[in-house]
Amino acid sequence: MIKENAVVISQEKIASGIYSLVLGVTFAEEAVPGQFVSVYCRDASRLMPRPISLCEIFPDRGAVRLVYRVAGAGTEEFSRLHSGETAEIMGPLGNGFPIEENRDKKVLLIGGGIGIPPLLACAEKLSHPVFAVGYRSETYLLADLKKAGQVHAATEDGSYGICGNVMDVICSVPLEADVIFACGPKPMLKAVKAYAEKNAIECWISMEERMACGIGACLGCVCKTTEINSHSMVRNARVCKDGPVFKAGEVDLS
């Protein structure tokens, strides 16, 4: 975990409002899929760093790839970064998905919307990854996903793949899985959690909360847990430090 000025190696718009940013970093070797970085804004009126997941990790090149959606002023600022410029970041943060122990298992990677990028990093470390991904309409990152594994996709308007959301993919395609890794909006995570419970599949989900410190000190980013957390001593866990990846059964998504 380090705070550094990362050099922008490249930045590319890959779909409307979606950008792919490759940054030179010193920590690529230690980074794990599912971890994220805090990206700091230049504009002095925006104090809080923006958490962005690692979409790809290139230990050899000493680089990481972030894929993000312009959601507001902070990500808009990032989208104007040019190669050669620097971006202040802190990382790698959080725990990441349990890759080692599941490397050779059948891992189903379920992603919705801007939750898809971190699953690419996972797939690149797994032996038999299968993706189930849902987009609103325009797809992105599909070529990369296909290179990394088998892909089943849905779009809400049916413009690509199945017409519907990612749960419709899972229900319509016969998919066998030992483990599920999921990242996406909360309603999707709820549905995935229910699906995994029903089918008794081990399930890990990546949570999202607004963050301030990003390192576990401010307690700004907690999510509810089903049991008392050993750090907080209450039914709360820090998404930035104890997560962002949790065993689905550990978190209370209500």
Binding site: L47, C213, G220, C221
Partner: protein
């Protein structure tokens, strides 16, 4: 003494407790130092002020607990904390012997709860206690506890009776007259006061038609509040004779120096830790540089110089 290089005295003192420099971390923004120790050499800090500790674990408020505003941060953590038991077993031992002063911030729902924590901190390595009387749940006559001078004086007296360490009363800025709050704390026997805690604020998510924070309101911190904080620190420092610890939006050495010049004996760095985990030690270094450039040999010579 070599020519040009003079030794600069950075020491300051609060209620008889000497600190190596006047820069501390603000409660709730630095945990108990553990997470920040990956970035920051704690021994470079005048003191670490811990997150508020209560007699039992508190769950705090539901999420979302934070949101960003222009040059500010709204938070409604709701004083989540693991309680005094775990604090004494895990957090205080971590901080002990790190070469910095330890100030334990205390919160409670009732006077009894405050006193219980204060009692438990007796004969520990805590150097000073900071009593947070802006706890959102503690009410006295309709308005919060820390907004009523009578209540401030009363709780100060009780805490002083039970505390073995010197007591800093942390004042709320959400008052008509901060001088009255400061004088009430002094009358109650406080050894020092610290201010400001956060200003109560709100944000609405217009697309969701809902409050941005689950708690509706939150406390505003960060550079946005610095002018208000500085004014209140100046007023308080000129209303009482006990030392004042200034905070609110300090993000660089120049900011810290403003508070010292306005009369603060020490300063706390809060929200800036989130942007720069080394903020507090860098600010201490920056104050030293300022003194050096201006041929001042003792930080005390810039305290209270603007009137």
């Amino acid at each position: 003494m070599k020519s040009g290089i003079r030794e600069i005295k950075m020491e300051t003192e609060i209620a008889g407790i000497k600190m190596k420099n006047p820069v501390m971390t603000a409660s709730g923004t630095f945990g108990s130092g553990m997470e920040y120790s990956d970035f920051e050499d704690l021994s470079l800090l005048g003191a670490v002020v811990t997150k508020g500790v209560a007699s039992v674990p508190w769950s705090g408020n539901p999420s979302p607990r934070i949101c960003e505003t222009a040059s500010g941060l709204l938070n409604a953590i709701g004083l989540q904390n693991p309680g005094i038991d775990v604090f004494l077993k895990r957090d205080l031992p971590f901080l002990t012997g790190k070469g910095t002063r330890i100030i334990v911030n205390v919160c409670g729902h009732t006077e009894e709860e405050y006193l219980e924590v204060v009692e438990r901190l007796k004969d520990t390595s805590a150097d000073l206690l900071e009593i947070n009387i802006s706890c959102p749940n503690v009410k006295e006559g309709g308005i919060a506890f820390g907004q009523d001078p009578g209540a401030i004086e009363k709780i100060t007296k009780s805490v002083k009776k039970h505390a073995s360490q010197p007591v800093i009363m942390k004042l709320s800025p959400n008052v008509t007259d901060i001088k009255e709050s400061a004088r009430a704390a002094e009358a109650g026997g406080a050894d020092a006061i610290s201010l400001i805690n956060t200003l109560t604020g709100m944000k609405i998510d217009i697309h969701k038609r809902a409050f941005a924070l689950a708690n509706k309101t939150g406390g505003l911190s960060g550079p946005a509040i610095k002018p208000v904080a500085l004014r209140m620190v100046y007023e308080a420092a000129h209303a009482v004779s006990i030392p004042v610890i200034g905070m609110g939006g300090i993000s660089c050495a120049d900011d810290a120096i403003e508070f010292l010049m306005a009369g603060a004996r020490a300063v706390s760095v809060g929200t800036e830790n989130f942007r720069n985990p080394c903020a507090a030690s860098e600010i201490a270094g920056g104050i030293r540089d300022f003194l050096q450039e201006n041929h001042i040999t003792d930080v005390r010579d810039i305290i209270d110089v603007v009137k």
